[in-house]
Symmetry: C2
């Protein structure tokens, strides 16, 4: 029988009623003829409770014990889901990560999946079991201890199972009904996408459209797993949600797939830096060591052996960045005239694989912003993305203007 992977997040299994509702969706796919692997998260709130206890007990905790405690939440949901399916006369059983076994490395609390031997579960499918309910987010280390994959690891678990079992599709049930062209709170014209390419999803996810964990999308892209994101709260059919897939599976699409944004950004500029080989390393090394997440970087043209260096970072990391630069200056590592900080900017990006074959996207973007009187402070580009830093107060206006100019309210 063909295999389907269905993943239910914490809000989709928050109560016994919601577990029943999720089980009914699983039952429909069983009736459709699938053997189903269900990946479950902990009931909403449970993981936070367990993490809270660990952190209160031991501020700098042993990650191996953290994993032993926190993994229990998914174990509970898996058992309850299996029982619910059995009540519906669907042959089902639960599997903890170590029972599958889902083998990981030993990097506790952020472990990487190494192997999922499908034999144990396939043997049960061969015996007539129709649903394997697997506790998400967890595995077993070479030392035989429980590992967890880090927050959002249940998405990654689901994709990894879909790859290991050659599943026809991996459906991620969540509390949104798909991926949108932009945040509907910014413009009511935002439209749900039927399909989106892996690469586009990666750019949108890392830019703040928090629908799918980045790692799970990367994994799906590598193994060409068709990923579908859909709501566990709507009644939906086979065409619901958004399919995240290989760009070859997208017949027609807009040049730009979506507009992403990040509100709380800051911009820093080092004025009159001595422009010598290794100067970038001398600046961004100390920033990285201070835990600053530098995003965009722009270097001005050099004049008289000196240049200006600009970068963006989250607003709440300004203090540590300034401290790192002051230290670099006083140690003589970096020679500069002044550090100028602008804590009132936001980042807006347009993303789309269509850009690869369409020239003029950048100029159309800049023109749309100019027409609204919005000044661009920094620009960076990649093959499928153009990002700009602008004054924060114009962010909503910029998103709306870009959504309009690229016609995102209408399907391709």
């Amino acid at each position: 029988m063909p295999t389907l992977v269905m993943k239910f997040g914490g809000t989709s299994v928050a109560t016994l009623d919601r577990i029943r509702r999720a089980a009914k969706r699983v039952g429909r796919e069983v009736a459709n003829g699938y053997d189903v692997i269900v990946i479950v998260s902990a009931m909403a709130g449970k993981t936070n409770e367990l993490v809270g206890w660990v952190e209160e007990t031991s501020p700098i905790f042993d990650a191996r014990e953290y994993d032993a405690v926190v993994s229990s939440g998914e174990q509970v949901t898996a058992g309850l889901m299996a029982l619910t399916l059995q009540e519906m006369d669907i042959p089902a059983r639960s599997w903890a990560g170590w029972q599958v076994p889902l083998k990981t490395n030993s990097a506790h609390s952020q472990a990487r999946i190494e192997e999922i031997p499908p034999d144990n579960i396939n043997a049960k499918f061969a015996e007539g079991m129709r649903v394997a309910v697997v506790a998400g987010f967890q595995g077993i280390s070479p030392e035989g201890r429980i590992t967890t994959l880090g927050r959002g690891g249940s998405d990654t678990t689901a994709v990894a199972f879909a790859a290991a079992f050659g599943a026809e599709r991996c459906d991620i049930y969540t509390d949104v009904d798909g991926v949108y062209t932009t945040d509907p709170r910014i413009t009511s014209k935002a439209r749900k996408l039927d399909r989106i390419a892996f690469e586009e999803m990666l750019e949108l996810a890392s830019l703040g459209a928090k629908v799918l964990q980045t790692r799970s999308v990367e994994l799906a892209m590598r193994y060409k797993v068709k990923l579908r994101v859909l709501s566990s709260f709507d009644d939906n059919d086979e065409t619901a949600g958004t399919l995240v897939c290989d760009e070859e599976d997208i017949v027609e699409s807009n040049v730009v797939a979506g507009v992403a944004f990040s509100r709380d950004e800051a911009k820093m500029t080092l004025l009159s830096v001595a422009d010598r080989p290794g100067i970038a390393a001398a600046i961004f090394g100390p920033l990285a060591e201070a835990g600053v997440n530098v995003d965009m970087i722009v270097q001005n043209i050099s004049e008289d052996g000196r240049t200006d260096m600009t970068w963006s970072l989250p607003v709440n990391q300004i203090a540590r960045a300034e401290k790192a630069m002051a230290a670099a200056k006083s140690s003589g590592e970096v020679n500069f005239a002044e550090l100028v900080t602008d804590d009132g900017v936001a980042k807006v990006s347009v993303v789309g694989i269509g850009m690869r074959s369409h020239a003029g996207v950048a100029s159309q973007m800049f023109k749309a912003l100019r027409d609204e009187g919005i000044n661009i402070k920094v620009i960076t580009t990649s093959e499928i993305k153009i990002s700009v830093l602008i004054d924060r107060k114009y962010m909503e206006l910029a998103v709306q203007a870009l959504h309009d100019t690229f016609g995102l309210d209408k399907p391709a």
Copy 2:
């Protein structure tokens, strides 16, 4: 290093503060030079929550899924206890039942322990680990699934570990400070026993002194594990609590160790039963099938081929017993004149290994009851116990009189 097993029940680990308090006790034993195996229950209330979810999901549940869900509570406590000990700079780690592995049979939710190979834990002790924190109440079946040992199984886990590791002692921390000569709510003269023999503890436990699970005492007796029951809420030293031990380890003791009682008993008598071989089986077979827990049984002398048969049972099982007897009569299986039920009796017992070598305990007991004007309705005796059924209204008076007459308020 010598090994000690310490078990903490649900109320002793109900909060992070109480876990810290328990960990301090463990730390003292580590300082005393012991390698310690700590057995923990789930935090008070957690098991009930998990059981409630299972029962609400599936009234007639798959016990394998029940075990997968319910065992998670102990896993959480074990991790938190290990973290707490690490914070005190004591090398510790947690072990789920399957990691030890504690091997059981496949009787899910009431599994029997089959083997505890000590190699894995001993290897860690050899590397310098000082405390192994083990999730109580759980193991792994031959099929690789999680099993639980049934309610109270954490006591049994503790004793089994003490036997498997040749521990010097098994300390059971609970919410009472030991075993008493009788319930202190009945008489303020009740006195905590320093030592009690396994056999006495078994008789007292099954009679209602719910300090230790019967199975754990049986196991301790078989493997000669010294069991100590003590409070986790008092500050106590090496002599605190009650030591449950082989009678050889009890130098001096009263003839009677304690007075037990059971309040809600009933008495049934079949009048004028045809006295033929197999009549007892014909009566008590149907009662057992109806789920009636028959306790005391007395058969009168036979006259003219007919006799009276009397037994005791819990009050709340009267209806089903009467139904079973009516059915046995109408089917012709049992021929009797009348069934008389007395729903107002209680059972009072005196227990003590000293009875074996001391005659006159029974007559002293009957005399004490007579002096209070208490009529005895049924008597049964064993080697170390004498039980009587009396009117329920005299129960407290009887317990007080027996406690006095055997001098239980004074040590031996």
